[in-house]
Symmetry: C2
Subunit: 730 residues, 2 copies
DNA sequence: TTGTCTCCCTCGGGGAGACAA
DNA sequence: TTGTCTCCCCGAGGGAGACAA
């Protein structure tokens, strides 16, 4: 047998014997980083080996690409890291999702647990995201991202073994699978009686661990003996956890851990406690969102089975689909063996995860039942997590329809009516690009699953949708769409549509099968309503003819007599006719009143805090708050909502209303003049920062809020697939 | 040998075997608390056994008595717990010391280290502390406080042993001193071959520890064997640490730890990190001081060799003495064996610990040299920590004089001149009580050691003291004395007085021995100036004759020609003649200007933050800040300072000055009307909440600030003496 | 091929008296 | 009286092949 190797001391209370040389960043060791795209902060001790990190993170992580646009879900963030914080306490209406640009991604590993997590520096996107994207970027986003490619291209010799009871027992060491040993470890001199060598492997933190690698036993096998139990003890490994050896191209051995999926509750934190969200930091996030400042988000891509940061394309893709009760779907899940597996299931309900705090959010709004009992533990998914099966939905009383966005279904034809278009492009040569975008808009009043869902539970007794019923949410889609949103208090009602719903039929092509029926031209909606035409005073000043056009048009477009569009257009009418009398229901108006008050509070909190520091917020002074920061558009929405209602029951808004009605000469709300014509944005639609200032009823707003920011429907590959293709698993 | 006892498991990674029954507060265990004055929050798990706590805390702790008045030193607090925080960053002038009422005292022990610490709930005293104190309270304060008495009266059988190498070795147990075992442990059946029993002792947290107590060996001795090493490991005891056994009257055994005096640097924190001061909490403290709200202070009475909370009497007593370079003193220190010892030394210098952040503070201003090489490590003490020896100071070029306050030296004679006394008492029947207080005032311009000290280094070239030289500090003595204070930038100059100093002779009776010379009648000063007569508009409106009286009087009172009083009175003159031209030195005035600006900043920060939330703070709007919160009196001081100076070089104060001079009708500064006569307090001096609004030069102010709150000179016993008298030590 | 078992051996450390300060 | 030492013994656990899945 070879010379006795210098192994770890038996004193297992010590750090690895090589601690002195390995305390800092991995990149500080020569020849360690094998990929060019190592984390940027090489000076930080938190920087970890990129490929090792990815190997530990597993195949299903969704690591946003630097520079890409993602969708950030504050609700999911809170849910994972801030369970016990009451969002109600702060009277703030959070956006459901925010489009953000990824400024930076840093990979970390928790010092204590070796759990990988990442730090994503996000900055809210202030412009219309899709239009800003260079041609093709969206498609590129759909591709495997570059980091993955790098990892894949350099995928080293690597293996991952889930620890057995013997591996973690106090007696004996770690049994190395033969192929793994041969693949990853330096070859032994098999001529010897008991060939052995010392292995040195660095963990995520760069700490070196030394093991005696011996080939012995009858039959022969590879074992790690001395040093192994120290590692197990130090890392607190138990059987079921997995270790991961990785040999870089330089021959450097690296060593990672994938802990067994600990039951989330009571388990380790998703991120180290220092980076755990707390009310204060969450307020900072909210603050950053409102001021469009960059903010850091930490999360564990492994534990976050439903990441709250998802690629834009994934989100947009989810908008392509209708998600209906009874619909079958597939979803990729990480199994215990860390191999990816496809689970299938059926949507059995749709409801708010948190009807109190986040009414109307899409976050995990789908209640699902898995086909396999071994399926994921959770029975809630977000739409973007699943892929609807092409098969017909399981038998229902009602046929669930999948209203696919149709790339070719919408010829870039001329609008059927002249559009008072002061902002939108008139260049129809750009229709192809437009169409892409408009395919999202196309859903307006038509293709929103949530409309259908909501309709199930909305207790409407007449053909009008009561706008005040639950009109409170502001949706900041890319910080650009500013709209109230229905806060649905529905719960899962199982399968079956209420007869009062007038949206159901609109939900799929199965009912209007393969008929690219002339829906409300998304182009028109887009260019007229959603990209700036209703800016500021125009809404108040000039009564444009748009609403009636919409009404007529959509009525026309739905010859089936389905009332979704009329309902939507009704809202539009309210919006465009802000001073028209609208018949508020009693209870509804009261609630609306309250919620509109919230809007004011929110605006004052966010903006006032940052800009004016004015503790007492008077409606009449709102206009003096600095311009250009109406990130969530509360101001304009507020404006219009106020303007839209002549109902005197809106007492808390009296000030605002008076403002609107009386301060005609110089009143401003959050920097937007209510009276000056020249403040109407004249930019073209694509770059307008004031978009979709429509005011309408909740149902419509719901639609707009959720669906306005639609991209074209590409079939993106799911991020992160095949990431650990080179990993042998045992 | 008796039945085998059920000892701890060998698994020393476990908590004590009785963990289940001992997780919470000690008072939740039946019959544990033996004293009536157990910590109030018995529900808190932090409540610990009072006597055990005291035993662990050692003999020299200074635990403030609930309800008593103490002096709180923010500087000391920061120094101990917030070393790395730059106080400069916040542009705040902290008070050097604040008189506070102790609302509550809670005893705690750190979960991790068992280190004792206490939580003191303080509320700044808003009134003239001494006058508020009931007759005799000060004396009572000087007595051993009640808690001590309780502990003493119930002092149980107790012993404390410093652990030897054998005690902490892995081989064998703990050798119990014979007397200790016989005194504290239940008797053994010595008829047996190897008598043994199981001992159960609760630690500070109420956790039970089980030990096998055996009497064996040749010669026989008492040993703790099984269970002992688990305890050592769990508590991370090393030889040098001490354990402490205590048998209560109910026979309950308790077990405490006194760790070896860890070198403060790099050692454990003085309090658990959760209670460690941080910039934020320190700002909370400052905030509480300014708003007179109660605030919690945590400190370790063992580690705090120089406590930043000291009893009032101790502080006042320190004012009785003059502390001069060369003076010998004694100080009680806790030796390694935790027995108290008296160290002697000599004052070798006086200088600011931190001339940048805390210029002029008394905190550890004395640089000392210890007689014994084994003396305390630190070479700085605060005046109140030491007792000047009665012996003459060691040989100097100059004789250091101790100007003892003379209880009987000041007959309560009638003032020599009619006093414009609208507030002060005219009842000279109360002179005795007055005299007590006035003995503090007596020091005005005469007996302030710091004046003498400062004078050593003040480079005065003419007989006038430049008020701008270092006039910046606000001293909040009991939150009531509002005065600037000389911030001395002197450093230790060794022994010897500058010839330019005109204070030196005033420093002691040795030079003017036993001559109760007619100093400025403190009564007069008191009743005229210091207890409210200069409130608000009076200063501005009516040019009172006080200043000249003072000048004349003090000149007259010091026939020796010593210029201290003239100097002081000079300041007075500036104050009382606010519009008179004063000859500012160039550099001095600039510095004064800057510092006065700080005063403004401070006022605006503290008050503005709390009340107005106004980010931009305009001088002209200061008056609108809410009334009644001028805790540190910055406003009035500021006022008067402004009013006192007609020098146009005070540019930053232009606004205020204009305010003062022009807004005669309704201007207020921090709630104090500058113009309305009826806002002058008419209460009698003793209860006035607005005291000493004199404006004067820095030297005088310094005196007033440091010395105004003087009580009579009693000889108080040092708190906490003999606390562990009943403890056997080995 | 590799998970588990059992055997063997080492070593740390608890417990005892010896011995000496 | 008590601190330290050495001896003894036990149990944890590392390391080996046996054996079987």
């Amino acid at each position: 047998m070879g010379g006795l190797i210098d192994l770890n001391t038996t004193e297992d209370d010590e750090t690895p014997s090589s601690l002195s040389s390995a305390a800092s960043s991995s990149s500080s060791h020569s020849g360690v980083v094998t990929t060019a795209s190592a984390p940027s902060s090489s000076s930080s001790s938190n920087a970890v080996c990129l490929e090792l990190w990815h190997a530990c993170a597993g195949p299903l992580i969704s690591l946003p690409k630097k520079g890409s646009v993602v969708v950030y879900f504050p609700q999911g963030h809170m849910e994972q890291q801030l369970q016990d914080f009451s969002v109600d306490a702060c009277n703030i209406n959070f956006p459901f999702h925010v489009f953000c640009r990824v400024l930076d991604v840093k990979l970390h590993a928790d010092e204590g647990s070796d759990e990988v997590y990442c730090q994503v520096l996000l900055v809210p996107e202030s412009e219309q995201v899709e239009q800003k994207l260079p041609e093709g970027e969206l498609d590129a986003d759909g591709e495997e991202d570059d980091a993955d490619a790098v990892v894949k291209s350099t995928t080293p010799h690597m293996f991952c073994k889930t620890l057995t009871a013997s591996d973690t027992s106090t007696h004996g060491g770690f049994s190395v699978p033969r192929r793994a040993a041969e693949d990853c470890f330096p070859p032994l001199d098999y001529s010897q009686q008991r060939p052995s060598q010392e292995l040195v492997a660095k963990d995520l933190h760069g700490l070196e661990w030394r093991f005696r690698h011996i080939y012995r036993g009858q039959p022969r096998r590879h074992l790690l003996t001395t040093g192994w139990s120290a590692f197990v003890n130090k890392k607190k490994l138990v059987s079921g956890d997995a270790v991961l050896f990785l040999r870089g191209e330089d021959g450097e051995l690296r060593l990672g851990i994938r802990r067994a999926a600990q039951l989330k509750s009571g388990g380790t934190l998703p991120v180290p406690s220092v980076h755990q969200l707390n009310p204060s930091t969450f307020m900072d996030v909210i603050n950053a969102l409102s001021t469009k400042c960059a903010f850091n988000v930490y999360y564990n891509p492994r534990l976050s089975s439903s990441g709250f940061i998802i690629p834009l394309h994934k989100f947009l893709k989810s908008l392509d689909h209708s998600y209906l009760v009874g619909m079958r779907f597939r979803m990729r899940v990480e199994t215990d063996e860390t191999t990816e597996r496809r689970c299938t299931g059926v949507i059995v309900g749709m409801s708010d995860v948190d009807p109190i705090k986040w009414p109307g959010s899409k976050w995990k709004c789908l209640v699902v039942r898995w086909d396999d009992i071994e399926g994921p533990r959770h029975n809630r998914v977000s739409p973007w997590e699943i892929e609807p099966s092409s098969s017909a939905p399981s038998s229902n009383n009602f046929m669930a329809a999948s209203f696919k966005r149709n790339r070719i279904g919408l010829p870039p034809e001329k609008p059927e009516f002249p559009v008072l278009n002061r902002i939108g492009r008139s260049d129809f040569g750009e229709s192809l690009r437009f169409q892409k975008v408009l395919q999202g808009q196309e859903i307006l009043g038509v293709n929103t699953p949530y409309v259908g869902i909501n309709a199930q539970s909305h207790q409407l007794s007449e053909s009008r949708c009561y706008p005040g019923s639950n009109c409170s949410r502001i949706v900041a889609a890319g910080n650009n769409v500013r709209i109230p949103q229905v806060s649905s208090d529905m719960s899962c009602r199982g399968i079956g549509f209420s007869e009062s719903s007038r949206f159901q039929v609109l939900q799929g092509q199965e009912i209007l099968p393969s008929q690219p029926y002339r829906t409300l031209s998304a182009n028109e909606v887009h260019r007229n309503g959603c990209f700036g035409i209703f800016g500021g005073s125009q809404l108040l000043g000039s009564r444009n003819q748009w609403s009636t056009q919409m009404l007529d048009n959509s009525s026309h477009m739905h010859p089936s007599g389905l009332v979704s569009s009329p309902s939507s257009v009704l809202m539009f009418q309210q919006a465009a006719n802000p001073l028209s009398n609208f018949d508020y229901g009693n209870k509804s108006s009261q609630e609306m009143e309250r919620k509109m008050h919230y809007l004011g509070s929110y605006a004052s909190e966010v903006e006032g805090r940052k800009l004016a520091q004015s503790p007492s917020y008077e409606p009449g002074s709102r206009g003096q708050v600095q311009e250009g920061t109406n990130s969530f558009g509360t101001s304009n929405f507020h404006n219009h909502l106020v303007a839209a209602s002549s109902d005197d029951s809106l007492l808390p808004l009296t000030g605002s209303r008076e403002l609107v009605s009386s301060c005609k000469s110089s009143c401003r709300l959050f920097g937007f003049s209510l009276t000056e014509e020249n403040h109407i944005p004249h930019e073209e639609a694509g770059s307008s920062t004031i978009t979709c200032q429509l005011n309408s009823g909740p149902s419509f707003m719901r639609q707009v809020g959720d669906e306005l920011q639609l991209g074209h429907s590409f079939r993106s590959k799911v991020a992160g697939s095949n990431r650990t293709k080179g990993v042998l698993r045992y």
